[in-house]
């Protein structure tokens, strides 16, 4: 990005801790205000779509689980939805319930992860530790039911591969009760905290019009009051039979995005309880299926929004083309709308608010700065953001123990 003299370019990345398909960001800033954003996506481009053309339909869900660590169920079930759309079949009810259970467990641990990291970015490290602590039991339930903490390898075209043991349901219910209590506590803590309100209200606002223009999906769109949820719009798995609500808020700022996710956590736990109680008996899958020529589109509501897979088959046992669009792809592109005009200390939390898959709290930024471009690592930005929270808290005269990390 070329910078006129009054502008400076701040590089974020390339080892950027936030993103599913990692990006190098260049922010052009004038003074403290962000005036332009540009992205580079080549760091983690691995060419999964091309690998997918060399795998059979049976192997594909396993490969697709490895697109993203947190959304492993998302991509494999979404692919199955696409294949089932192509075939025009319905799968056995027990398989539908199993897919719902693993999908919702994933949503719970993913949202908890987000809450934790968002807390870290604004300097509330206690929230970070809490949220991740309560995420562990959810991963344990996942492991109890499927045998792995995240990559279950359960979905296959036409159903699921293995059963999940019902003898663990009571234990899982107990864990969910515990997690629900903690989620309520976190929700109350967020809604009541004046410092958080002062810090996050009105930051990184996306208007409903911007949401539609940038194709933003999932909780990020619902925080702006745009009513979209694939689970309700095009019910896959068991969502059509269960009783749950789509959570909406209106302001579209970072605060509302947090609120939507916290409310969704409670909905997810409600869905999980219903699944455990009403689990139907019966077949798990339809056996091996022949894939005819044709094309199909699958949609899935990932923790971060709508995931789309397009599948084109030529009658052989490998797809001719598989297109994968993860929700973060459009959500991240909308930074151009949400970051402009923000202060640079608000950038991390604005970027974080649409929950691009976090990988880790801190990777490196090995950025070669030139003479007129300062080197700033992502860690510096997080520190700026935390300092801002501290300033807000001090101004309000509230006692706090916020420390810079």
């Amino acid at each position: 990005m070329k910078a006129p003299s009054s502008r400076r370019v701040v590089q974020i990345g390339p080892f950027h801790p936030l993103l599913e398909e990692p990006v190098g960001f260049a922010l052009a800033v004038e003074g403290e205000t962000v005036v332009d954003v540009d992205a580079r996506m080549d760091y983690i481009h691995k060419g999964i779509e091309i690998l997918a053309q060399q795998r059979t339909y049976d192997m594909l869900p396993i490969l697709l689980e490895r697109i993203c660590g947190i959304c492993s169920v998302t991509h494999s079930v979404c692919f199955c939805n696409a294949a089932e759309d192509l075939l025009g079949i319905d799968i056995p009810p027990r398989a539908n319930y199993i897919r719902t259970i693993i999908g919702e467990l994933e949503r719970v641990h993913s949202h908890l992860l987000w809450v934790g990291l968002a807390g870290h970015f604004i300097g509330y490290n206690t929230v970070f530790m809490w949220a991740w602590k309560y995420r562990e039991p959810v991963c344990d339930v996942f492991e109890m039911l499927t045998g792995h903490r995240q990559n279950s390898a359960l979905p296959m075209v036409g159903g699921v591969r293995r059963d999940i043991p019902e003898k663990y349901f009571p234990e899982a219910q107990k864990t969910l009760d515990m997690v629900e209590g903690k989620v309520k506590m976190l929700t109350d803590a967020v809604l009541d905290d004046p410092v958080l309100k002062a810090r996050l209200k009105g930051v990184g606002v996306l208007t409903p019009q911007e949401v539609m223009d940038w194709g933003v999906v999932g909780p990020t769109a619902r925080a702006s009051g745009v009513d979209t949820d694939v689970r309700r719009d095009e019910p896959y798995a068991a969502y059509g039979e269960l009783d749950w609500d789509v959570c909406l808020t209106e302001n579209g700022d970072v605060f509302d995005k947090a609120v939507v996710r916290l409310l969704e956590l409670q909905e997810s736990i409600k869905i999980l309880r219903q699944c455990f109680d009403n689990m139907p008996k019966g077949d798990l899958n339809l056996g091996m299926l022949h894939m005819p020529r044709g094309e199909g589109i699958g949609r899935y509501e990932a923790p971060r929004g709508e995931d789309i897979h397009y599948l084109r088959s030529n009658g052989t046992n490998m797809p001719e083309r598989l297109k994968v669009r993860a929700p973060s792809y459009t959500n991240v592109a909308s930074f151009k709308a949400s970051c402009l005009g923000e202060k640079i200390s608000d950038v991390t939390i604005t970027l974080a608010a649409c929950d691009p898959c976090y990988s880790c709290t801190e990777r490196t930024a090995v950025v070669r700065g030139t003479d007129d471009q300062p080197e700033r690592t992502f860690g510096d930005l997080v520190r700026l953001s935390q300092a801002e929270t501290r300033r807000v808290a001090d101004e309000m005269g509230r006692p706090h123990d916020l420390q810079l990390t």
């Binding site: 390339p14 080892f15 801790p17 599913e20 990692p22 080549d42 760091y43 983690i44 481009h45 691995k46 060419g47 999964i48 091309i50 690998l51 060399q54 396993i62 490969l63 490895r66 697109i67 993203c68 660590g69 947190i70 492993s72 992860l113 934790g116 970070f128 530790m129 991740w132 602590k133 995420r135 562990e136 903490r149 995240q150 990559n151 898959c357 976090y358 990988s359 880790c360 709290t361 801190e362 990777r363 490196t364 090995v366 690592t377 860690g379």
Partner: protein
């Protein structure tokens, strides 16, 4: 390895500071590494601390295959680490490329990439997709034992 005296190695083992590089993996490994820091596993009680810059670190945790764009930054970060230094390859991808073996945009597994710039690089493999946090901690501990 001019700078790595027995004294420095002994000091390193007391409190190894680790630095994490995710090189285009699927980020599940990265999450498991971050998990090690959270209350359930809490590696800080053993003196293992995650730091933000390679210049402060003794041990590098690498996850994922190395994409072409990540190759140079990874080598640069490795050379910036002070000696004695060592690496842990976390996950099947970092050990053997795992699911991405045939991809066109990866430059190779991290061990080969490190060997290009530092032939005596020391490292240990922790396979699993992703390895559980316990396994990662175990990997770091075994590495320290072997130094």
């Amino acid at each position: 390895m001019a700078a790595s005296t027995p004294f420095l190695v002994r000091a390193l083992k007391k409190s190894p500071w680790v630095f994490h590089v995710g090189t285009s993996g699927c980020n599940n490994c990265d999450i498991e590494i971050a998990d090690c820091l959270t209350p359930r596993f809490d590696v800080e009680r053993f003196g293992i601390k995650l730091v933000g810059s390679p210049r402060h670190a003794d041990v590098m945790l690498i996850s994922g295959p190395v994409s072409r764009a990540c190759k140079e930054p990874l080598q640069q970060a490795w050379l910036e680490m002070p000696e004695p230094r060592a690496a842990v390859m976390v996950g099947s991808c970092a050990c053997s490329m795992g699911a991405y073996r045939d991809a066109y945009s990866v430059a190779g597994p991290p061990d080969k990439v490190l060997k290009e710039v530092d032939p005596d690089a020391k490292y240990i493999y922790v396979p699993g997709c992703p390895p559980k946090p316990e396994t990662i901690v175990m990997g770091v501990v075994k590495l320290l034992g072997a130094l």
